[in-house]
């Protein structure tokens, strides 16, 4: 991807006036609003570079033979032992990072990654071992007051800054769709009961991102969108009168529908505005968009490549990627470990059996794919730094080694050194020091100029890594 012609000039982009000003106001955001606007409209220096975020999830936890609960056991025997070479954790003790076999793909990225031990969402504690992936990006209390989940971190950011790019967010997964409660196939949620279906077909994702007009001229597209807007208006009217003919037990469904049409209208308006901006030209060389699940490595790299391209062209700044869901027994994902390592069993079995000769290797394989993405960002210069410097990349799972446990997630955060992040350490939040994972979320949001003070069950900021 050395082709530079499709690298957008942000000045042109802003001059075009394609930036929608209709900003939704979130609770407690008033103060930050001006700052957010200011960043975008005034500064052409450092601040003009986009601030991005990716949340990437891997299923079934990771191999931690030395401490299945996800936090270190404090027995003398353990203290004397060397760090396990195939543990997911790169090193044994909190402090400066060193890398073992499992985490070796991140060795070259030492200055750009941090690990966190002992973090989790309290909302996920009581969810079944196969369901806690639902709340990884939301922290919702699905057993208690938030039965239909709640807004995810990427969408909080997208609500404030999403209008600055052609797409407010990019939601990807390996299985596609929404899944159901308890077996979600997407990380992103617009709010309670509104999961955003993830996209999983590379070709389709590519077309939606970079070829949205399907060969039509831009004038034609604009006329079409204008037409859509006026007709959606009529449809909305039509549906309102329909609602009155239904019993009150069905009003909820129609409201859901009406909301969707309204959202669609807004999107049409937005798309229409963006037609004034030229589409980025993307070189598809080396991109195999027809890759299938039978080739896990190529497939997953392709998904990462698409996110990279979306970030690089500033088509969006917020993305999620759910690599396998916790319930993929009906899909090819179930066989990934077989394809990759020749493991004779379902991928999910690794989590339960933790076979010594496959588990670490499986983690290492996953780390390799993720490191590939980080490396790509770091290799792409941007301003006087590189893309990784302004991209927060959260990577983790909602289980430790003990696959039915929903506490003490494996968590890694990378990038963003120009957004105030300090890297290169393993942080530990055990015992009295334990804090919610949501604290990290709040700090991440702040780092990408979303001035929230609280997210889910957060109790403060994560000052350890983010200024």
């Amino acid at each position: 991807m050395k082709n530079k012609s499709w690298h957008l000039d942000r000045r042109d982009l802003l001059k075009g006036g394609g930036v929608a000003i209709a900003l939704p106001l979130l609770n407690g955001m008033g103060a930050g609003l001006n700052r957010a606007l200011g960043d975008n409209f005034n500064g052409m220096g450092e601040n003009a570079h986009p601030k991005r975020m990716l949340v990437s999830y891997f299923a079934y936890g990771a191999y931690m033979p030395e401490s299945p609960s996800g936090v270190p056991r404090s027995t003398e025997k353990v203290d004397r032992e060397e760090h396990h070479p195939w543990s997911w954790w790169p090193c044994k003790n909190a402090g400066p990072l060193s890398f073992n076999e499992s985490s070796s793909p991140f060795k070259p990225l030492k200055e750009d990654v941090s690990y966190f031990r002992g973090l989790d969402h309290a909302g996920g504690w009581k969810l079944g071992g196969h369901s806690s992936g639902d709340v990884f990006a939301t922290g919702a209390d699905m057993i208690g007051a938030e039965k239909t989940n709640n807004i995810s971190i990427d969408q909080v950011a997208a609500q404030l800054h999403g209008h600055k790019t052609r797409y407010s967010s990019l939601v990807l997964g390996t299985e596609g769709g929404t899944g159901s409660y308890g077996s979600c196939k997407t990380l992103s949620h617009r709010g309670p009961g509104r999961p955003i279906p993830s996209l999983h077909k590379p070709q389709e994702i590519f077309n939606r991102l970079f070829k949205p007009y399907t060969g039509k001229g831009v004038e034609q597209v604009r006329a079409g969108l204008k037409r859509d807007a006026s007709i959606l208006d009529l449809v909305l009217d039509h549906s309102r009168s329909f609602k009155n003919r239904l019993g009150k037990e069905d009003h909820g469904k129609v409201d859901e529908y009406l909301d969707s049409i309204r959202a669609l209208e807004q999107r049409v308006e937005r798309t229409s505005k963006w037609t004034h901006q030229p589409l980025p030209e993307v070189d598809t060389k080396g991109l195999n968009l027809e890759v299938s699940h039978k080739e896990p490595e190529e497939y997953i790299r392709c998904m990462y490549d698409l996110i990279y391209l979306a970030f690089q062209t500033d088509s969006t700044r917020f993305a999620t990627l759910m690599l396998e869901s916790e319930q993929s027994s009906n899909s090819e994902m179930w066989n990934y470990a077989t394809y990759v390592l020749g493991y004779k069993g379902a991928t999910h079995d690794i989590a339960h059996k933790r076979p010594a000769d496959y588990s670490g290797q499986w983690d290492q394989w996953r780390a390799k794919q993720h490191a590939y993405f980080l490396q790509r960002l770091r290799d792409t210069p941007e301003g006087d730094g590189n893309m990784l410097d302004r991209t927060l990349v959260l990577w983790g799972s909602a289980h430790p080694h003990a696959s039915h446990s929903t506490k003490n997630y494996p968590i890694q955060l990378a990038g963003g050194s120009r957004l105030g992040l300090k890297h290169g350490r393993l942080h530990e939040f055990v015992g009295e020091k334990k804090v919610p994972l949501a604290n990290l979320f709040v700090s991440m949001l702040n780092a990408v100029d979303v001035p929230v003070e609280k997210f889910a069950d957060s109790t403060g900021l994560m000052t350890e890594v983010i200024r």
Binding site: P197, S239, F242, G247
Partner: protein, 914 residues
Amino acid sequence: MASILLEMSFRWCTLIGFSGIYILRIIAAKFCRERPELFSFIRPKPINKTACVDRGLQIFRWLLGAMFFQVVWQLPLGVLAAAPVNDGYDSLVRPFFKAHCIACHGPDKSKGELALHTLDGDLRSGRGVERWEAVLDAIESGAMPPEGELQPDPSKRKAVADWINSQLRAYVKAASKEVPANTTRRLTNFEYENTMRDLLGVDLNLIEYLPQDPVKPYHFNNTAEFMLLGPEQIDRYLEVARRALESAIVDLEKPKSYQSRQEWDSGESNKGFAKSLKRNEIAIHNSRRGTPGQGMAVKDFPRTGEFRIRFQASAVFPNGASELPLRFVMGYNLNINSSTQEVAPVGVVHLRNSPDNPQVYELRGRIENFPVQKGRVHRGKLQPDRLTITPQNIYDDGTLNDENQFLYWPRQPDMPRAVVDWIEFEAPINEIWPPKHHTRILFDSPLRQSDPENYIRQVLTRFMSRAYRRPALPEEVNRFLEVYNLLKPQLGSIESTMRETLAMLLVTPQFLLHTKSDGKLIRHEFELASALSYFLWGSMPDSVLYELALTGELNNTEVIAEQVQRMLADPRSKDFVSNFTNQWLSLAKMKTVPINRDLYPRFLYYVEAGERAGTEKPYIPTIRDYMIDETIGFISELIRQNASVSNLVDSDFAMLNQPLAAHYGVEGVEGQRLRPVEIAAEHRLGGLLTQGSVLIGNGTGSAPHPIYRAVWLREAILGDEVKAPPAEVPALSDSAGDSAEQSLSIKELLAKHRTVESCNDCHVRLDPWGIPFERYNAIGKYQRLVPEEGTRIRGFDRKRDTDLAGYTKYLEGINTREVFAESRLPHGPRVDGMDQLKAYLLASRKYDIAENVIRRLLAYGIGRDLNYRDRYEVENILQQSSKNDFLFQDMIVAICQSSTFNRRTSNERKRDNR
């Protein structure tokens, strides 16, 4: 008593309120006349003062009468009912709980997340009804108190059950008068695709373009509460509708027809080992260069429209077989050794004629449904896109894998071969232009020229009435006439304007949500017609149902019975059976269980050589595919025969074709067509429990898995809800499959479960159900002997075993130990193996099994999980069907006649009460 008085005072208020409205209206009308400018928001409608007073008084009298009646009727009842409520609880139920339940389900412990100490004796409040129902189930079935605990006196048990039953029944009766629980829901993707097919007359694959429906094992994906309608969903619907209308409405100019043809002569082939193969012959699973098996590339073709493939074919049967299935697939060239190739099946013909009697066959389909292979740049030139038509010889006698290397090559000369002399491709078929699906929407009429506005109105009215599954209301038609008129100047032709108008119409809630009656303009019968057709066809009502709804005749139990039988006999009911069965029995997972190739080297077909060697052969039907057909075909057959539900447990027939029969060891079945085959005891088949789809899906691919199978039996057949292992319980290695020797230690694994208390609580009631399945191995075959524990089994080894017979001999050598399949069922007898398990289920659990089937069918039919409110309606259906040994079709009829299925909306009730 106090509550009754309170209630009466409420009623007085309502009474006065209602009649008061009319008085207020009179006053308002007076003001309206005097100060019209203040009341411009009131519709200026002349009000007849005396009529208003009359109506007010009439209502007053009517309500007064009703109240009087109610008081007289309720007073004694209320007093009678009120008295024993708490008495019964305090004297009977509470002591019972205290003696038998509270220790585990109380303030100290709440096993199974159930605590009883917070229940009060007043069920009428609706508090804790779900818990009460769970308690009732446990007490009635005898599942609680658990074995080993003090058991209550049977008469006490019954008395408590009766008490809960009477209270619950009273509550349900009262609650059902309130807002009905049934909510409308959107069409599932499956229903959407079928509806579009029947509405537009074009059979297109649309599901792949829609976000997935939510899936939950053992639940149905049409459950209303999960069926969301977000903006993404609507966005996709719009895209898909546009795509479909592009196909359904054509341009008037007759398009050019594309034709291609390829011929093969019967000369001798001169290549290598296949010398015996003529140039026009296709050997099994073979796609050799120069033969029709390689496929015919089509480079000129339209992107939409119906296509036709004609071909002349026959078959050679050296082994004396009589039928050869020749399957056509179309899409990518299958000879490319890669994972990205994609094809879709066109159809199968069963050849019985010999080459001296060649015959011409024809297959049709829609081009849109087939993947097009994009042209690549080759030597600096862009190759055209292409579609490759590949005929496949999929003859399979179940022994194809039984030879040494290169699959079954040594036997190839003895195996049936297909002969294809030529293939012709033509698209679009334009003999009749515009095609029927076009004229069904834009019908021929002189009005089109003479009175366009009226013509469009008629087109819209007809289409909308079908799309909305009930007569379109004039205001609805007007709205879309408006849309049409808005689009017309921009889009030009009637055709393109209509495409866009209808696409918009297909994202309205009237189309996307299931049809509901409004109690006024839209008759209840239309809701019923839709409910029936989406239940039994997964699609919109046909004209017969629509007419019956229009005339009102449908709302009659006789007519419903007649229609249900007609619908089940219609081929469209296949969709219902497969969709329902797949979800009910959670079948899909069997396709992704990784079969251990070392242990079962001959079960699937693998690529022999090249880059993809060792992976499963794509696009070749295998026994595993036929097993899904077997299970769906079995349920189909039960419905067709109107057989008893006890066949689910054991039957005297199995649905088999030749490969399946070979797998299970049944002789005398020839050909690929699935059919009911009479079976004997030694086949160890019959019913669902021994079908490969179930056994493989609930195994690990290397070994049987008693826990998976137990969960399946309890969930799918007995209708229990088995809770997932709790989050905090450390997972014991719950699946074997890592290596061959580990796969046999399942017994130890279960024993380990029992030593941990938190596991044991559930597993003591679970594991015994799975043990009797143990003699059926991981690929669903009966296997009495296994190796001694700890024996290392080696997989198939070509060098040592030479062929399957050699490997079988090796296995027989080490298979010396009898499989242990004996367990004592919870609250039941000791059973050894499948036969005894089946006997027990038939003797003691038939009622539960029938109830489960009814509940599943009903939940699928109404699109929501059942709850305590449906308990007594289910009981009615069950009673009714028990008279006739639970016949399948009769149960479906009874479900469709039930008031739960045929529930009225609150709007309708308002009207009914008026």
